[in-house]
């Protein structure tokens, strides 16, 4: 069952096309990584799904309704980003109490435990938190709200490595206990890759790839060898990236589908795996498809 359906969704902001006839479906109870460069349209997509923004054209359904101005969507979709300006008249603990009043499935115990674990002070004000601390607090808010759909927009912004690790673990444990749909956007795939079931790569407002994470992990391979050999060998293959490494040696990343690996090895090329995050970098970097453009 899909909890999110987008059909030819376009969003124009002035002359900028943020989303360009985007089509996606998100399955219920999956964790999806939304990957793209800055300006690819990640935030725009999430804000439309949360019902905060209106698409210029196209059809959007979240939990089977049009999200814009929908109470059902607002009550069951949490949108967490790093510009959540909670009112200054409320302390952190009062914000959590307000969350409890608004969200039917709010988990006070989880909120309190995480609040204590990350050593927040109940009387602190949200505006006085550092960037990383604010992100951590917002994460607690998003998890405790326990909404049917949770949208995290760059949730780990400003968090240090150990908090990021804790974030991943907290998110996963809560997901295992209460399976629900989550979409997490990031431009650093490697830091959340293991949490994901699916990955959605968008570029210039269009979906580029939407696959289970393991497909992306095996999507491409790296070939290293003598430049003329590698160049000649990859001409008829789908090349994602090439780089000259040292004298007369070339590293090329090609789509692994249909590549005779044994043969490549026999020819003296070194075959290396390409991590999912590197695949995303290469996919979102590529400006034109042809190998000749790359070698110009």
């Amino acid at each position: 069952m899909n909890v999110v359906e987008c059909e030819k969704v376009t969003k124009k902001q002035g002359s900028v096309v943020a989303l360009n006839e985007l089509n996606i479906q998100i399955k219920k109870n999956t964790i999806t990584g939304l990957i793209g460069r800055n300006g690819a349209g990640k935030t725009t997509l999430l804000k439309i799904l949360a019902g905060l923004w209106r698409p210029t054209s196209g059809h959007v359904e979240v939990l089977s309704v049009n999200p814009f101005n929908s109470l059902t969507v607002s009550a069951n979709v949490a949108y967490i980003d790093d510009s959540m300006d909670f009112p200054n008249t409320l302390t952190l603990s009062e914000i959590l109490q307000a969350g409890k009043r608004f969200y039917g499935n709010w988990d006070s115990q989880l909120a309190e435990r995480l609040f204590e674990y990350f050593s927040f002070h109940p009387n602190q004000l949200h505006t006085h938190l550092s960037k990383g601390k604010a992100s951590t607090f917002n994460m607690i808010f998003g998890l405790a709200a326990r909404c049917e759909i949770t949208l995290f927009d760059e949730p780990t912004n400003g968090m240090d490595a150990s908090v990021r690790k804790d974030f991943n673990r907290a998110l996963l444990k809560d997901y295992l206990a209460y399976p629900r749909t989550m979409i997490i956007s990031s431009h650093h795939l490697e830091e959340l890759e293991e949490l994901l079931e699916d990955i959605l790569v968008i570029k210039n407002g269009k979906e580029l790839l939407h696959e289970p994470i393991d497909v992306i992990r095996n999507y491409a391979i790296g070939l290293t060898g003598r430049s003329e050999l590698v160049r000649q060998w990859v001409t008829d293959k789908q090349v994602l990236y090439t780089e000259e490494v040292g004298a007369n040696t070339c590293y090329a990343v090609v789509k692994s589908e249909g590549i005779p690996l044994e043969k490549a090895k026999q020819l003296g090329m070194k075959v290396t795996p390409v991590s999912a995050s590197d695949v995303c970098v290469y996919l979102t970097n590529r400006t034109t498809g042809g190998i000749d453009d790359v070698f110009k």
Binding site: L172, L176, E193, E194, L195, E197, D214, K265, Q266, A276
Partner: protein, 128 residues
């Protein structure tokens, strides 16, 4: 165990191999119940779908069998299957790599055998 996410090996393969090693080490005996996908997800902080994929590989290879609603269990022949697999695939693959590298370096067969003997003696020495 620590998972490698650098792309060298898919996570689900690493999960499958971890369970195989646990079976080889005797931590799971024949007809023991192995960890569920959720337990594995929690242990390794990975998505349960990825963990399930690791378990599916082992089921396909008859290393695990399912009891409906109860989970996955170790087959009586699991140990032998894993040993065979590692011998025929893993070890064989490694030897292929060694052979390829030896050819590149012009190391002859007898020289290679000598190197292999030294390596084995070293390991045996350490084990004693």
């Amino acid at each position: 165990m620590h998972l490698l996410s650098d792309g060298t090996k898919p996570i689900y393969v690493q999960i499958a191999e971890w369970i195989e090693t646990e079976i080889l080490n005797g931590n799971f005996q024949a007809d023991d119940k192995v960890y569920s996908q959720y337990k594995l997800a929690e242990i390794f902080t990975i998505n349960p779908a990825t963990a399930a994929k690791g378990l599916t590989i082992l089921s396909d290879e008859k290393i695990l069998y399912s009891k409906r609603g109860l989970g996955k269990f170790v087959t009586p022949e699991a140990r032998q299957l894993i040993l065979d697999k590692r011998k025929n695939h893993t070890l064989k693959g490694l030897l292929d790599e060694v052979a390829l590298e030896a050819t590149r370096l012009s190391v002859g067969e007898s020289e290679l055998q000598e190197m292999l003997r030294e390596s084995m003696e070293k390991i045996e020495g350490e084990e004693q």
